[in-house]
C-alpha cells in the first residue's frame, strides 16, 4: 500500500510518480524524459554524472583524447556484470555507442559522434566528426546507456520492454498503464543500492499526482505543477527542492510567414510581451525572464545581456511602421499536453493590446509536433527548449539554416550572419572566441527577433522528507542509487 | 335481383407470424346489397375485424376478389383506390383509440373532406361539418373540443360523423358499440338505423353481441377461426340455427328475463384451435359434440341447405 509509513520502520521501496508512460525502454530509441529516468537506473554509462553535476568515470575507468580531439579511447572497467549474468565487454560498449549514434532519436547528442570500434577486450575507440567540447556531457546522457549486446540483438522489441544493463537496478515488471518496477541488483559493481525497490507509478493527471504525494501515497515527483508548489512547500511531510532548469521558453515565430518574416513585426511582438505577467500567469511566477536563446546553465550564456524591453507604445509604433497600424490576425498553435495553452492565452491578451489578434488553435500533441516541429504548418507558437548538454552550441541545431527540414530549425531562420556565428561557435577551440561569437549572436537576436525568449524555467523535486540524497539539477534525470531512506 | 353493392369472393388474409401463417380470414364469400346490413358475428379473434379491414384494403388481402359495383378494387392502383375510399368508410371498435387525440372534433370530422380535395370555401366547410355533427346528434359547441374531453358515446358519434361526411355507399362498422354502455349503445344503434333509412347506406356490421346483430342486420354471417360457417337471413338464423357452433352461440345468450332461469345450459367444452397453420377439417370439431371422423382432414364447403341459408357442417352434407 501507498499509505504513509511511520518514519521508524525503514522503508525498502520508493514510489516515483510518472505523469505519463514511456513508450519504450530502449534508451537509444527514446527521447522521453520518463524513459530516461527508468533506463538511467538500469544502465551504466561510460561517464557518470554525480547529483551535483560533476562528471566522474563510470564504466570507463579512464579515457584519453587524440591530439586533434577527434578520437577518444575508453578503458572499460573489468568484472562488471550485466543483470543477466553476462560480463561486460568492449563489444557491448561499442555496440551500445553505435546503436545510439545510428538512432534518429539521439541526434541532439550524437551529432558530433561518428562511430565506435573495439580496440581490444577492454578498450573502445570513439571517433568524432569534429572536436566537440561537450562530448563528455553527451556520453553521460541517459540515451547513451551501455546495453547487453546479446540480449538486445536477440530481440530488440523484447529488449525495449525489458532492458538489460549493468546498473544498480534491474528491470522487474512493467504493468502497462500502471507502473514499472525495478529492484536493486545484487551483483552491482559498486555497493548495492540502499533502496531495494523502485516503482514508477503512472499517474496521468499531475494535479492528482501532487495530491497523492501530499497524502503520502507516493514519494517522489519532479517538475510539479506550479500551482501546487506552494502547498508542497507548506507540507511538513515533504521536502521541496528547486534549481534552474536547462530549458527556456520562447515564442516561436515562423520566419517564413508572410507577415512574421517582416523584422519590424517581430520586433513589435518582442516589445509587446510582458514577461513578468507571462511568468506570473503561465508558471505561477516560478521562472526568470529570459533575454537570450541560450540556456542559463550553458557555457557561453551572457549573463548581463538585455534584450528588448516591454514597451507597448514602441510596439505599436513598430507595427505601424511595418504597415500594420491596425494589427492583424494570426493563428497560434498550442497544445495543452505541454502546458502551452496558458502562455498562449496570456500572449493573446498581451498582443491583443497592440492589435494582433491571436486565434488559439489548441491541438493534440501529435498535431503540434506535426504542425510546428515539422516547421511546415504554423504561424506562431511557444515552445520550450531544453539543452542536452550545457553548452551554448545547443542552439545550433535549432537555428542554423542547414537544419531546416533535416534538422530542427522549425523556425525557418535563414540568416547568413547567424549561420556564420553558429559555425564559429561550434568549431572554434578558443573559449574566448566562442564566448564572443555567442555574444554577437545575442546582439543579432535583439535586432532580428527570430524568436522571443520569454522565461527560463526552474526544475524542482517534491519528495518525502525522509528521502535523503536528493539534489535537483537541470536535466531532471535522477539516479536513485544515490538516495536512501532516513 | 340487381348487382350487389359489394361482393367478396374467396377472400383470404394470412398474417405472417414467426410460427407460420395465421389464417385470419380464410376463404370468405359474401355479398351486400344496397341499403342492406350484413352482420358478422363470432368470437374474439376469429377474424371479423380483419375481414372488415381487408374489404376496405386497409390490410392487403392475401388473395381473393373484392367487387365494388362489379369492379375488383384489389386491382386498383394507389390513386384509384384513394379515390374509391370516399365511398367505402369504416367506423372503428374503440372510440378511444380511433380518434386522433391532438385533433379537435371539427378537425377530425373535416379531415376526410380535406384530404379528398374539398373545393368549397371555409364557410361551406364549416357549414358542412356542422350539418354532419347535427346529423349524428353532436352539439355544435363541441366543434373545438378534444376527444379526451368527451365520453365514449360522443366519441363514437364523431367516428360516425367522420365516416358519413363523404356520403359513402358502404360502411364497415367494426363493433361500434361494444365499448359502450347499454343505453348509449342503444342511442348509437338507433342512429345507425335512421341513417340507413335516410341515406340508403349499406353496412357490414361486426359484433360479438348476438342480440345487437339480430336487431340491426338483414343477413348474418357466423365466423369461426377465419371461416364462415353459417350464413342466413337474420330471422332464419335465430329461428333455426344449424351449425353446432351457431347453436351454442345462441344458447349462450342470456336473455334479460327469467324464462330460462334454472334451466340446465348446454356448455361447450374443449379448447379453441389456433388460427396459425390450422389443419384441414372443421375447426370447431375439437369443441363439437357431433364431431366425427368425417369432420377431419378435409375442408368442409358451405352448402345451401334451404334458400338463403348456408352452413358448413358435415351434418348437413
Amino acid at each position: 500500500g501507498g499509505e504513509t509509513k511511520s518514519s521508524s520502520d525503514k522503508r525498502d521501496n520508493l514510489i516515483y510518480v510518472f505523469d505519463g508512460e514511456p513508450q519504450t525502454l530502449d534508451c537509444a530509441k527514446t527521447s522521453d524524459q520518463l524513459a530516461y529516468t527508468v533506463v538511467y537506473q538500469i544502465h551504466d554509462y561510460l561517464i557518470d554524472r554525480l547529483p551535483d553535476g560533476t562528471l566522474v568515470p563510470g564504466l570507463a575507468e579512464t579515457w584519453e583524447y587524440s591530439d586533434d580531439g577527434t578520437e577518444i579511447t575508453f578503458h572499460i572497467r573489468e568484472n562488471v556484470k550485466f543483470h543477466n549474468g553476462d560480463v561486460l565487454t568492449a563489444e557491448d560498449v561499442a555496440f551500445s555507442l553505435n546503436n545510439a549514434i545510428g538512432s534518429s532519436q539521439t541526434s541532439r547528442i550524437t551529432s558530433a559522434m561518428d562511430s565506435a570500434s573495439v580496440v581490444d577486450e577492454n578498450t573502445v575507440l570513439l571517433k568524432l566528426k569534429h572536436p566537440f567540447g561537450a562530448i563528455e556531457y553527451c556520453l553521460a546522457n541517459a540515451q547513451m546507456g551501455i546495453v547487453n549486446k546479446k540480449a538486445y540483438e536477440e530481440d530488440p522489441e523484447a529488449f525495449a520492454r525489458h532492458p538489460v544493463g549493468t546498473g544498480a537496478y534491474q528491470f522487474k515488471e512493467w504493468k502497462t498503464g500502471d507502473s514499472i518496477t525495478l529492484t536493486a541488483f545484487d551483483d552491482y559493481y559498486k555497493d548495492k543500492a540502499s533502496i531495494e525497490n523502485i516503482e514508477f507509478r503512472i499517474m496521468l493527471d499531475s494535479d492528482t499526482a501532487v495530491m497523492a504525494l501530499e497524502n503520502g501515497e507516493v514519494d517522489f515527483t519532479f517538475d510539479i505543477p506550479n500551482t501546487a508548489i506552494k502547498k508542497v512547500q507548506e507540507n511538513e511531510n515533504l521536502e521541496y527542492y528547486v534549481t534552474n532548469a536547462a530549458s527556456t521558453c520562447y515564442v516561436v515565430l515562423n520566419n517564413e510567414h508572410e507577415i512574421l518574416s517582416n523584422k519590424k513585426v517581430r520586433q513589435a511582438i518582442a516589445h509587446a510581451i510582458d514577461k513578468e505577467a507571462l511568468i506570473a500567469g503561465a508558471v505561477e511566477g516560478y521562472g526568470v525572464p529570459a533575454e537570450t536563446p541560450i540556456s542559463t546553465t550553458a557555457f557561453g550564456f551572457p549573463a548581463d545581456f538585455k534584450n528588448r524591453e516591454y514597451d507597448v507604445e514602441k510596439a505599436k509604433e513598430l507595427l505601424a511602421e511595418a504597415g500594420y497600424p491596425d494589427g492583424f490576425k494570426i493563428v497560434f498553435t498550442a497544445t495543452e499536453t505541454l502546458n502551452f495553452k496558458k502562455p498562449g492565452e496570456i500572449l493573446q491578451d498581451q498582443l491583443g493590446a497592440i492589435g494582433i489578434e491571436l486565434d488559439i488553435k489548441d491541438v493534440e500533441f501529435s498535431v503540434y509536433l506535426d504542425d510546428v516541429i515539422s516547421g511546415n504548418n504554423y504561424e506562431m507558437a511557444v515552445t520550450e527548449q531544453s539543452t542536452a548538454y550545457p553548452d551554448a552550441d545547443h542552439i545550433y541545431s535549432l537555428y542554423h539554416s542547414s537544419m531546416i527540414d533535416v534538422g530542427r530549425n522549425f523556425i525557418n531562420v535563414r540568416n547568413d550572419q547567424l549561420d556564420e556565428l553558429l559555425d564559429r561557435g561550434r568549431v572554434s577551440q578558443d573559449p574566448d572566441e566562442r564566448i564572443k561569437a555567442y555574444e554577437e549572436i545575442c546582439e543579432l537576436w535583439k535586432e532580428e527577433c527570430f524568436t522571443v525568449p520569454t522565461y527560463a524555467l526552474q526544475t524542482d523535486i517534491a519528495a518525502n522528507k525522509n528521502l535523503k540524497g536528493v539534489i535537483p539539477h537541470s536535466p531532471s534525470v535522477y539516479k536513485i542509487y544515490h538516495y536512501s531512506w532516513e | 335481383m340487381s348487382q350487389p353493392l359489394i361482393e367478396i369472393r374467396d377472400l383470404k388474409k394470412y398474417f405472417d407470424t414467426s410460427q407460420g401463417p395465421l389464417h385470419a380470414v380464410d376463404n370468405i364469400n359474401l355479398s351486400i346489397n344496397k341499403g342492406q346490413t350484413l352482420g358478422v358475428v363470432g368470437e374474439s379473434g376469429c377474424g371479423k375485424s380483419t375481414l372488415g379491414r381487408a374489404i376496405l384494403r386497409l390490410v392487403e388481402p392475401t388473395s381473393g376478389e373484392i367487387l365494388y359495383k362489379g369492379e375488383n378494387i384489389v386491382d386498383y392502383d394507389v390513386n384509384k383506390m384513394r379515390n374509391t375510399r370516399r365511398d367505402l368508410q369504416m367506423i372503428f371498435q374503440d372510440p378511444y383509440s380511433s380518434l386522433n387525440p391532438r385533433m379537435t372534433v371539427g378537425e377530425t370530422i373535416a379531415e376526410p373532406l380535406k384530404v379528398n380535395g374539398f373545393k368549397g370555401s371555409r364557410e361551406e366547410l364549416s357549414q358542412k361539418i356542422e350539418e354532419t355533427m347535427e346529423t349524428v346528434g353532436l352539439s355544435n359547441r363541441l366543434i373545438n373540443s378534444y376527444p379526451h374531453e368527451l365520453d365514449g358515446g360522443r366519441r363514437q358519434r364523431i367516428g360516425l360523423a367522420r365516416a358519413i361526411i363523404l356520403e359513402p355507399e358502404f360502411i364497415v362498422c367494426d363493433e361500434p358499440v361494444s365499448a359502450l354502455d347499454v343505453s348509449i349503445q342503444a342511442q348509437i344503434l338507433n342512429l345507425l338505423m335512421d341513417l340507413q333509412d335516410q341515406k340508403d347506406f349499406s353496412y357490414l356490421f361486426i359484433t360479438h353481441d348476438l342480440s345487437v346483430v339480430k336487431h340491426i342486420s338483414d343477413e348474418i354471417v357466423v365466423m369461426y377461426i377465419g371461416q364462415c360457417i353459417e350464413r342466413a337471413n337474420a330471422k332464419q338464423l335465430f329461428a333455426n340455427p344449424l351449425h353446432p357452433y351457431s347453436i351454442a352461440l345462441l344458447h349462450a345468450i342470456l336473455a334479460p328475463n327469467l324464462r330460462n332461469r334454472g334451466k340446465p345450459k348446454k356448455v361447450l367444452r374443449g379448447e379453441v384451435t389456433s388460427p396459425i397453420n390450422p389443419i384441414p377439417g372443421c375447426r370447431f370439431a375439437p369443441r363439437c359434440a357431433h364431431a366425427s371422423e368425417r369432420c377431419l382432414n378435409r375442408d368442409i364447403e358451405l352448402k345451401e341447405v334451404e334458400p338463403g341459408h348456408w352452413v358448413a357442417c358435415t351434418l348437413f352434407e
Binding site: - | S183, S211, A252, I253, E271
Partner: protein
C-alpha cells in the same frame, strides 16, 4: 329470516383527483344474507367496483376515501377495522374475482403458486403437501388439469385464467365472494362456461356472492336479489322477480331494460335513456337521475328521494319520489309504468 352477512349503510366514498373530488358512492345502502347472490347492476361509473373495493378496504391509497357510513361483515366493522384484521379477512372470509382475468394474475408466478399463496397466508397450520393437495383439489373443481399448475398465466386462455382466478378466490371457502364483472372480458360461449361453474361452486360451498355486472342477462341467470345502482346509490332493490317481473320500477330501471335489444321482440327502434350519467364531480341536486327522467317532477330537482318499499313481502325498494306514498298515495297506481320488456 336468514342471517345477515354483510350490511352496508349510507356509504359515501370519494376519490380525490387532480381535477376535483369524484363522488363515487353517495349514501349507498344494502345488505346481504348468508348464501344468497346479490346482483349489483349499473352503468359504467355507477360505483360498482368502488363498492367492492370498499368492502375489502382496498380503495386506492390516499385517493379513495370512505367519507361516511358503515360496512358490517358478520358484525365486524370494516370501516374502522384495523389493517391487520382486514388482512385476515381478505382472501379468507371475503374474496374477490376481478373483472379482467388477463391482468389480475401475476404474470411471472406459476398459477399453482398463486393459488397456494392464499393458503400460505391464511392456513398457517397446513403443511406443504396439504397445501399442494388443496391446490390440486381446487384446480380440479374449476375444471383445470392439475398437471398445468406449474404453468404461467400467459400459457392459458382467457376462460382458463378466469377459472384460475375463481379457484384462487374459493380455496379458503370464503363466506362472501365479490365477483366484479367476472365474465365481461370473456367470449359469450366461454362466459357461459364460467357462469355455470360459478353457480355450481357457490351452491356447493354455500358462499354468498355479490355479483357485479351491467349485464341483465347474467343477473337473470344467477342472482337471487338485485340492486340497481345509479350514480353511487341504489335506486331500486328487490328479489329477482321484483326487478324482472313486478310492475313497479324506478324510471332508470325502465330505461335500462328499454335499451337492450330484445331477441324475441323485433322492435324497429330501441328506447334508450336520453342523456348521460351525471358528472360524478358535479352531481345534480335532488334525484341524481332527474335530468334524464321522463317522469321528472319539480320535487325531483330539489329533494333527494327516500327509499320506498313498494312490496313489503319481498322488501322491494325504489328510491323515487313517484313512490312516495305520503304524497302520491292516491295516484300511485296511475303512475305505474309498463316495463319496456313486457
Amino acid at each position: 329470516m336468514s342471517e345477515k352477512l354483510l350490511e352496508i349503510d349510507n356509504l359515501r366514498v370519494i376519490y380525490k383527483t387532480d381535477e376535483g373530488v369524484v363522488q363515487a358512492l353517495n349514501g349507498l345502502s344494502f345488505h346481504m344474507d348468508k348464501g344468497e347472490t346479490l346482483g349489483l347492476v349499473g352503468e359504467t361509473g355507477a360505483g360498482k367496483t368502488t363498492t367492492a373495493l370498499s368492502i375489502l378496504k382496498l380503495l386506492p391509497d390516499k385517493i379513495g376515501l370512505i367519507e361516511d357510513g358503515s360496512i358490517k361483515f358478520n358484525d365486524f366493522d370494516i370501516v374502522t377495522g384495523s389493517e391487520q384484521n382486514m388482512r385476515k379477512l381478505r382472501g379468507d372470509k371475503i374474496s374477490m374475482i376481478f373483472q379482467d382475468p388477463m391482468t389480475s394474475l401475476n404474470p411471472i408466478i406459476k398459477i399453482g403458486d398463486q393459488i397456494a399463496e392464499v393458503l400460505e397466508l391464511h392456513r398457517a397450520d397446513m403443511t406443504k403437501s396439504e397445501i399442494e393437495a388443496r391446490v390440486d383439489e381446487i384446480l380440479t373443481t374449476v375444471g383445470l388439469p392439475t398437471s398445468r399448475k406449474d404453468e404461467y398465466p400467459h400459457q392459458f386462455s382467457g376462460g382458463m385464467r378466469q377459472r384460475v382466478v375463481i379457484a384462487m378466490a374459493l380455496t379458503c371457502e370464503p363466506q362472501l365472494l365479490l365477483a366484479d364483472e367476472p365474465t365481461t372480458a370473456l367470449d359469450v360461449t366461454i362466459q357461459a362456461q364460467v357462469l355455470e361453474l360459478m353457480k355450481k361452486l357457490k351452491e356447493n360451498l354455500n358462499t354468498s356472492m355479490l355479483l357485479i355486472t351491467h349485464d341483465l342477462g347474467v343477473v337473470a341467470d344467477i342472482c337471487d336479489r338485485v340492486a340497481i345502482m345509479y350514480a353511487g346509490t341504489v335506486v331500486e332493490m328487490g328479489t329477482i322477480e321484483d326487478i324482472f317481473e313486478a310492475s313497479n320500477h324506478h324510471p332508470y330501471t325502465i330505461g335500462l331494460f328499454g335499451s337492450i335489444p330484445d331477441l324475441e321482440n323485433d322492435a324497429e327502434r330501441l328506447n334508450p335513456i336520453k342523456g348521460l350519467m351525471p358528472d360524478p364531480m358535479n352531481l345534480p341536486t335532488g334525484c341524481y337521475f332527474h335530468d334524464r327522467c321522463q317522469e321528472c317532477m319539480e320535487i325531483c330537482t330539489i329533494q333527494e328521494p327516500d327509499n320506498h318499499i313498494v312490496d313489503e313481502k319481498t322488501n322491494h325498494m325504489i328510491k323515487c319520489h313517484l313512490f312516495d306514498r305520503t304524497k302520491h298515495s292516491d295516484d300511485l297506481e296511475g303512475k305505474m309504468h309498463e316495463p319496456a320488456f313486457n
